[in-house]
C-alpha cells in the first residue's frame, strides 16, 4: 500500500497515493480534465495544453499531466480562467482543422468532436484560409489526412515505445508540422496501433475507409483468433457483416490495452469472404464431385459412413482431429465425440508442436502479459515474438524500455528484439536445446558453448543475470525446443534455486490462439499425433473426422494420405487442401459467428462472443459435432448451448474447475486457469538425452547473420490472411504505388498465383 498524501482539489480534501499524477488524481476523484496528448503508459508530451489547471504557489496555469501530486497541494480545476484557456485551445485546434466530419471515418467517435462539444464555442472566429494538405495513403492499411491532425503525437510515441519501429514521425515545423513517414511509404509491421490511438481522423484504417460510420456498428468484445497472445478486441459489425476490428478500450487496461497487430486488426475480412463455404458438400462416390446438399442429408451421409467404418473396423479405426484454432467448446465436443460416440483413442489436434512435456513438468506459474511488462529479467530461448506473438514482443519491449528489465535472448537469428536485449547470445541454427542444457546444468556449459558457437562466458553471464534478479524472471521459449528441452525448461527454476524476492514465471510461445486450450482439454493426449495419424491413413485409420484443416507442414510429403482413407469428413471455413480431399464438408462458423472460449499462452481463458449470425448455412463446430453425434445415436447433452459445454469442461478438466461463463465476463480482469504445478522433478534422463543430442550438433554450421525483414512472418499469406487483398500487397513486398493519393489496391495488380510459402500457424 503506497503512502497517502492530501491534495485539495477545488476546495475539497482528497487522499491520493504518493507519486500519483495530478491528472489521474483529479479524474479518479470525479473532476473531468480534458486532454489529447496525455496517454497513460506513454511518455509525457504536455503539448495539447488542454489539461491546464491552477495550482497555488505556481506561476501560470500548469499542465496537470506533468505534475506529480505533493502533500498539501491546492488545485483548482474549474474556474473562469481555466475555462477560457481550454476554450482557447479548442479554438486553436479547430483553426486549421477541416470541418469535414461528414466524410471522416472518425466522425462519431472522435475525441476532438467530443472535446468541441464540451469546450467549443458556437461561433468560429477563425475566418481565414485553412492550411491544406491532401488525404493520402501511408501503406495499404493506413490512410492519413494530415489536415485533421492535432499533433498530440500519440501515434509517434506508440510507434516508438510499443513497437520500437519509429516508422512515423513528425516532419516540418510550426503550423506546417505533419505526421508522416520516412520516404513517404510506411515500411513497418503495419500494426495499425497508430490508428487506434489517434484521437482524430488523421490516421485511418484503410480497409474500413468510407465503409460505414461508428454508430452504425454493433460492437462485440471478443478474442483474436490468430496467435497465442489472445488479444481482446472489439468486432464492429453491421447487418451480418464484420466491418472492422479495433482494440477494446480507449485507455490502457485489461489484457492488451489498445494494442493489436496487423492480423488482429486487418485480417478480419475472411469472415465475410465470398469463398466461404455456403452449404454442406457431399461426395457420394470416391473420385466423384462435391455436390451441395442440405444439412440433414450431409449429416445422415456422414453418420452412415462413419457407422459403416465403425461396424467394419471398430471405433478405433476412426481418427478425430481438432484444431488449436477452434474454441475450447468445439474441441471438447470433438473429444467427447471421439471418446463417447466412437470410442476411439486416435484423437489429436492439428497443432505445430505439443506442449505436453512442458505442462507435465511445469514448476512455476505461467507469466501473464502483465507479468511480462513488469518483469525484471526476461529470458527468451528461440522464438520470434515480434513476428509470431506481437503482443508479447510489445510487452517485452516495454518491460525493457519503460520498466528497466533486462532481456537475455538466445536465438539463432538476430531478431529485431535484440536491440532491446541486455545480452544477445547468437547461437547456431538448431542448437536451442543446447542452450537449455547449458542453463540447467552449468557443468555442460563449456561444451555447449563450443557447439553453440558462442564464448564460454556468455552463458555464464546470462545465468548470472538470472540469478542476480530481484523480482520476476520470465522464461520464454519458442517452438524450436524438443520435448526433452521443454521438460527441462519447465524445471529450470529449480536449477537456480530459491532466492528472496525472486519469482520465476514461464511463458511458452505456441503459435495458435488456442494452443494451450487444446493441450489443457487433453485433445493432444490421444494415441497418435497428427503426423502419425496421416501416416496411418488407410491402414490403422480408415476414416477421419477433421475440424479445421491439417497444417501445410503436416501434409508436406504426405500428399496422398488423405485419399487413402475410406471416409473423410471435414468442417472448415474454406475449401482448403484438407477439405478438397473430403467426402463430406460441413461449413463451419468462424470466430466472429460463434460463442466460446480461447485459452491463450498466459493460460487466460477468454470469451469469444458471437458478433454476427453464422454466414450462409454455416454452423459452429461444436453444433456440427453434436448433430453428428445425435445422428450416430448419442446425445452429448450440450442442449445447443456453448455455456453447457463449458460447464462440461469445468467438470471434466481439473484446471478449469469452477469456471463458468459469467466469471469470464469482465475482460479487464482476465481469469487464469489453474495449471497443476509439478514439484521438483528428476530430469536427469532428459538432460542425458539433451547431452546425447548435443554431441551430434554440427560445430561448423553457419550462423544466420541477417536480421529478417519486418513482417516476414506477419505478412505471409495463410488460409485466412490470403482472403485480404491488402495482405497480398504486403506479402509482395509492400510496393509503393505511383500515387499515394489513391489506395494502392486500385493501382497495383498482383499476380494471383503469387502464394508465398505457408505462414507459421496456418
Amino acid at each position: 500500500m503506497a503512502e497517502l498524501i492530501k491534495v485539495i482539489i477545488n476546495g475539497q480534501d482528497f487522499q491520493v497515493e504518493k507519486g500519483a499524477r495530478l491528472i489521474d488524481a483529479c479524474r479518479e476523484n470525479g473532476y473531468s480534465i480534458a486532454s489529447f496528448c496525455y496517454y497513460a503508459d506513454l511518455a509525457l508530451q504536455a503539448s495539447c495544453r488542454m489539461c491546464l489547471v491552477r495550482i497555488e504557489k505556481m506561476p501560470k496555469l500548469q499542465t496537470s499531466c506533468t505534475i506529480t501530486c505533493t502533500d498539501g497541494m491546492v488545485v483548482t480545476t474549474e474556474s473562469e480562467e481555466i475555462e477560457k484557456a481550454r476554450r482557447g485551445m479548442v479554438e486553436f485546434l479547430l483553426a486549421n482543422h477541416p470541418l469535414d466530419c461528414p466524410v471522416c471515418d472518425r466522425g462519431g467517435e472522435c475525441e476532438l468532436q467530443e472535446m468541441v462539444f464540451d469546450w467549443g464555442d458556437l461561433e468560429e472566429r477563425f475566418t481565414e484560409r485553412k492550411n491544406y494538405a491532401p488525404e493520402k495513403f501511408l501503406s495499404p492499411v493506413v490512410a492519413n489526412d494530415s489536415q485533421r491532425c492535432i499533433l498530440c503525437k500519440r501515434c509517434t510515441r506508440v510507434c516508438d515505445e510499443w513497437m520500437g519501429e519509429d516508422a512515423i514521425e513528425a516532419g516540418g515545423r510550426g503550423a506546417h508540422t505533419v505526421i508522416g513517414t520516412y520516404g513517404g511509404w510506411l515500411n513497418c509491421s503495419q500494426c495499425g496501433n497508430c490508428i487506434e490511438v489517434c484521437p482524430t481522423g488523421t490516421l485511418l484504417d484503410a480497409t474500413y475507409r468510407h465503409q460505414t460510420r461508428p454508430w452504425e456498428l454493433s460492437r462485440t468484445t471478443s478474442t483474436c483468433s490468430f496467435c497465442s497472445d489472445g488479444c481482446q478486441l472489439s468486432v464492429g459489425s453491421r447487418r451480418g457483416e464484420v466491418m472492422r476490428v479495433v482494440a477494446r478500450d480507449r485507455y490502457v487496461n485489461g489484457h492488451n490495452g489498445e494494442f493489436l497487430c496487423i492480423k488482429g486488426r486487418f485480417a478480419h475480412p475472411f469472415v465475410n469472404h465470398e469463398e466461404r463455404l455456403r452449404t454442406p458438400l457431399v461426395r457420394y462416390k470416391k473420385g466423384g464431385r462435391l455436390v451441395p446438399t442440405t444439412w440433414e442429408e450431409a449429416v445422415r451421409f456422414a453418420a452412415q459412413k462413419l457407422q459403416e467404418v465403425k461396424d467394419a473396423h471398430g471405433g478405433s479405426a476412426i481418427g478425430v482431429v481438432g484444431s488449436p484454432r477452434l474454441t475450447n467448446e468445439s474441441n471438447w465436443a470433438l473429444l467427447r465425440f471421439a471418446r463417447d460416440v466412437l470410442g476411439t483413442d486416435k484423437y489429436t489436434a492439428s497443432e505445430a508442436f505439443s506442449l505436453a512435456p512442458f505442462f507435465e513438468n511445469l514448476s512455476a506459474p505461467l507469466a501473464t502479459h502483465k507479468d511480462i511488462r513488469h518483469a525484471k529479467t526476461i529470458v527468451l530461448i528461440g522464438g520470434e515474438p515480434e513476428e509470431l506473438q506481437p503482443l508479447t514482443g510489445k510487452q517485452v519491449r516495454q518491460a525493457v524500455r519503460n520498466g528497466g528489465a533486462k532481456l537475455v535472448i538466445f536465438n539463432s537469428v538476430p531478431i529485431r528484439l535484440k536491440e532491446q536485449a541486455a545480452q544477445f547470445v547468437h547461437i547456431r541454427p538448431g542448437s536451442e536445446d543446447a542452450v537449455v542444457l547449458a542453463l540447467a546444468s552449468p557443468g555442460d556449459a563449456e561444451v555447449a558453448a563450443s557447439k553453440l558457437g558462442v564464448e564460454a562466458d556468455e552463458i555464464g553471464k546470462a545465468s548470472q543475470i538470472i540469478s542476480e534478479t530481484a523480482g520476476d524472471v520470465v522464461l520464454m521459449f519458442g517452438g524450436e525446443l524438443s520435448a526433452e528441452a521443454q521438460s527441462v525448461v519447465a524445471q529450470l527454476p529449480a536449477a537456480f534455486g530459491e532466492k528472496e524476492g525472486r519469482r520465476f514465471l514461464l511463458h511458452p510461445l505456441p503459435l495458435f490462439n488456442n494452443s494451450v486450450g487444446v493441450h489443457d482439454l487433453g485433445l493432444m493426449n490421444g494415441a497418435l499425433n497428427p503426423l502419425e495419424i496421416l501416416d496411418a491413413a488407410g491402414s490403422e485409420v480408415r476414416a477421419l473426422y477433421v475440424a479445421g484443416g491439417f497444417l501445410p507442414a503436416h501434409l508436406e510429403g504426405r500428399e496422398g494420405a488423405l485419399s487413402r482413407l475410406d471416409f473423410l469428413a471435414v468442417q472448415e471455413l474454406f475449401l482448403t487442401e484438407t477439405a478438397e480431399a473430403a467426402d463430406v464438408i460441413f461449413p463451419a462458423a468462424s470466430f466472429a459467428e460463434t460463442d466460446g472460449t480461447f485459452t491463450n499462452s498466459d493460460g487466460l481463458v477468454q470469451r469469444v462472443r458471437q458478433s454476427i449470425p453464422p454466414v450462409h448455412q454455416s454452423k459452429p463446430d461444436w453444433a456440427i459435432t453434436s448433430q453428428l453425434a445425435s445422428a450416430l445415436g448419442t446425445d452429448l447433452g450440450f442442449q445447443m448451448s456453448s455455456s453447457n459445454i463449458f460447464l462440461d469442461i469445468a467438470h471434466g478438466v481439473p484446471a478449469y474447475e469452477g469456471l463458468r461463463y459469467p466469471l469470464l465476463k469482465d475482460e479487464s480482469k482476465p481469469v487464469q486457469v489453474k495449471h497443476a504445478l509439478a514439484g521438483r522433478r528428476d530430469v536427469t534422463a532428459q538432460l542425458a538425452e539433451l547431452r546425447r543430442a548435443l554431441e551430434s550438433l554440427d560445430e561448423n554450421a553457419e550462423k544466420i547473420t541477417e536480421t529478417p525483414p519486418v513482417g516476414h512472418e506477419l505478412f505471409k499469406l495463410g488460409v485466412l490472411t490470403s482472403k485480404v487483398p491488402q495482405f497480398h500487397l504486403l506479402a509482395a513486398g509492400n510496393p509503393e504505388p505511383e500515387s499515394v493519393l489513391v489506395s494502392p489496391l486500385y493501382q497495383i495488380t498482383l499476380d494471383p498465383g503469387l502464394r508465398r510459402e505457408a505462414a507459421a500457424g496456418d
Binding site: 495544453r49 496555469l61 483553426a95
Partner: protein, 439 residues
C-alpha cells in the same frame, strides 16, 4: 559601426578592436588565460562558483537568471558525467553581440568555458551555434586547435590534473534551438523541440546528465569575474545585476554597434541621443525595442525625459525587459503595425509546432495580419488579435509563445493608431480576399 564600452572600462570588448584579436598570441598578451591559471592554481570549484555568485552575474541570454545560482543547482554527488554547453544560437532578431565576441575574441569564450567546466566538474563541453553561424565554427575550431596545441585544452590543462575538451556543433537554423532544452535535443541529434521542465538541465540535461547551458556573453564574463573578483565585478553594476552588459544597437540610429554599458546605465534617452549619436536623418524617435524582438515595445514618450535606467529592474519598471540586449531603435517613419506583422511572421516561421497555442496561434495571427494588410480589416480585429495573444501567453510549452505574444500586446496598447488605420481604411490591396476562406 561602433564596438566598445561607454561609461566604463571595456571588459568583454577589451580586445575586439585589436589587430589579429582572435589569435592566442594577442589574447595571451592582453591578459588572456590568466583567470584560468588563477583558478587552476588553487581555487576549488566551490570557490569559483562562490565568486560567480558574489558577482551577481545574471544570464545574458534573455531570461536573466542568476548564473551562480544556476551553477550551484548541479548536483555535486551525481555519478553521471556533467556538461557545460555554450548557447551560441543567437537568433533573436536584433541581437548580434555573441557573434562579435566569438568572431573577434574566441579565446575569451574558451577560457570562460574551461573555468565553468572546472567549477562544475565537466570534462566535455559543447559550443552550439545557430546554423547560419557556420563560419564562426571555423573560427572557433581554429582557436580551439590553437588552445589545444598550447596545452590549454584537452588532457592536463596547463599541466594540472584538470582535463577538459570543447567541441563545436551547429544547429540547422531554428530559432527554437536557442531555448536551452531544445538546444540539448538538437545537440543529441533529435528534433529541436523543447523538453519538459522539470527536470531542469542542471539535473538532467544533455544525455540525461547534469548540464549547464549558458549564453556566450555569460561565459565570457566569467574570466573577468575571476580576475577582478566577484565583488569588484558586481560593483561595476547594480546590487541585483552585476557587471557590464553588451547591447546590440541597430535600427534608425546614427551609430549602431555593440555597446558595453555598465548595468544600471543612466539613462536610455542619453544613450540613444548622445552615445548612439541620435536618430538618423534628424528624424524623431518613435519607439525602442530594447531587448530583442520578444520584449515589449517602448514608445518614445516612455523614454524621453523618463530617466530610464538600463538594467533588469529599470527596464521592467519602464514597461519592458533587458532580454538579450538587442536594442532596436525605430524612428517616426516606422509603421508599428507593419513591424509587428514582420515579427509575428518570424515567430510563426520559427514556432516548432510542439504545443497547440504557439503552433496554431502564431499561424492565425499572421493570417489576421495579412488580411488586415490587404485591406480586409474588420472593426473587432484588434480585439481578436489581443484575444489570440491572450490565449497564447502563459499557456505555451516554452517561452516562444510568450515571446510571440508580448510584442503584439504592447504594440496594440502603445500604438493603437497604427493598427486602427490599417484596420479601418482597407486602403491598399484586394479588399481582403486574400485572407478570406473559400467555399
Amino acid at each position: 559601426m561602433f564596438i566598445g564600452a561607454i561609461g566604463c572600462e571595456p571588459l568583454q570588448l577589451r580586445r575586439v578592436s585589436l589587430e589579429r584579436s582572435r589569435t592566442l598570441d594577442v589574447y595571451r598578451r592582453n591578459g588572456g588565460y590568466e583567470a584560468l591559471r588563477k583558478v587552476l592554481d588553487g581555487m576549488s570549484p566551490d570557490d569559483v562558483i562562490g565568486e560567480v555568485k558574489k558577482s551577481a552575474l545574471r544570464g545574458r541570454g534573455g531570461a536573466g537568471f542568476p548564473t551562480g545560482m544556476k551553477w550551484s543547482f548541479v548536483p555535486k554527488d551525481s555519478p553521471k558525467a556533467r556538461y557545460v554547453v555554450c548557447n551560441a544560437d543567437e537568433s533573436e532578431p536584433g541581437t548580434f553581440k555573441d557573434r562579435y565576441l566569438m568572431e573577434r575574441d574566441p579565446h575569451l569564450l574558451i577560457e570562460g568555458m574551461l573555468i565553468a567546466g572546472y567549477a562544475l566538474g565537466a570534462r566535455v563541453n559543447y559550443i552550439y551555434t545557430r546554423g547560419e553561424y557556420r563560419y564562426l565554427i571555423e573560427i572557433m575550431d581554429e582557436a580551439l586547435e590553437e588552445a589545444r596545441t598550447a596545452g590549454l585544452l584537452g588532457d592536463r590543462v596547463l599541466g594540472t590534473d584538470f582535463n577538459c575538451e570543447i567541441y563545436t556543433h551547429t544547429g540547422a537554423g531554428a530559432y527554437i534551438c536557442g531555448e536551452e532544452t531544445a538546444l540539448l535535443n538538437s545537440l543529441e541529434g533529435l528534433r529541436g523541440h523543447p523538453r519538459m521542465k522539470p527536470p531542469f538541465p542542471a539535473v538532467a540535461g544533455l544525455y540525461g546528465c547534469p548540464t549547464v547551458v549558458n549564453n556566450v556573453e555569460t561565459l565570457t564574463a566569467v574570466p573577468d569575474i575571476i580576475k577582478m573578483g566577484g565583488d569588484a565585478y558586481k560593483a561595476l553594476g547594480t546590487e541585483k545585476s552585476g557587471g557590464t552588459k553588451l547591447w546590440s544597437v541597430s535600427g534608425h540610429v546614427a551609430r549602431p554597434g555593440v555597446y558595453e554599458l555598465p548595468m544600471g546605465y543612466d539613462d536610455m534617452e542619453k544613450f540613444i541621443m548622445e552615445d548612439c549619436q541620435g536618430i538618423t536623418n534628424g528624424r524623431q524617435l518613435k519607439a525602442v525595442i530594447p531587448g530583442g524582438s520578444s520584449v515589449y515595445i517602448m514608445p518614445a514618450e516612455d523614454i524621453i525625459g523618463r530617466d530610464v535606467r538600463m538594467d533588469y529592474e529599470g527596464l521592467v519598471a519602464a514597461g519592458s525587459m533587458v532580454g538579450s540586449g538587442g536594442f532596436i531603435v525605430l524612428d517616426d517613419t516606422v509603421d508599428v503595425f507593419e513591424s509587428t506583422k514582420n515579427l509575428t511572421e518570424f515567430y510563426k516561421h520559427e514556432s516548432c509546432g510542439w504545443c497547440t497555442p504557439c503552433r496554431e496561434g502564431t499561424d492565425w495571427l499572421v493570417k489576421v495580419f495579412k488580411r488586415i494588410e490587404s485591406g480586409g480589416g474588420r472593426p473587432d480585429d484588434a480585439q481578436l488579435l489581443l484575444d489570440i495573444v491572450d490565449n497564447i501567453e502563459g499557456k505555451s510549452f516554452c517561452p516562444l509563445g510568450d515571446a510571440a505574444a508580448w510584442p503584439i500586446q504592447s504594440a496594440i496598447k502603445k500604438f493603437p493608431e497604427d493598427f486602427r488605420r490599417h484596420i479601418s481604411n482597407g486602403a491598399s490591396g484586394d479588399g481582403g480576399k486574400e485572407g478570406l476562406p473559400t467555399a
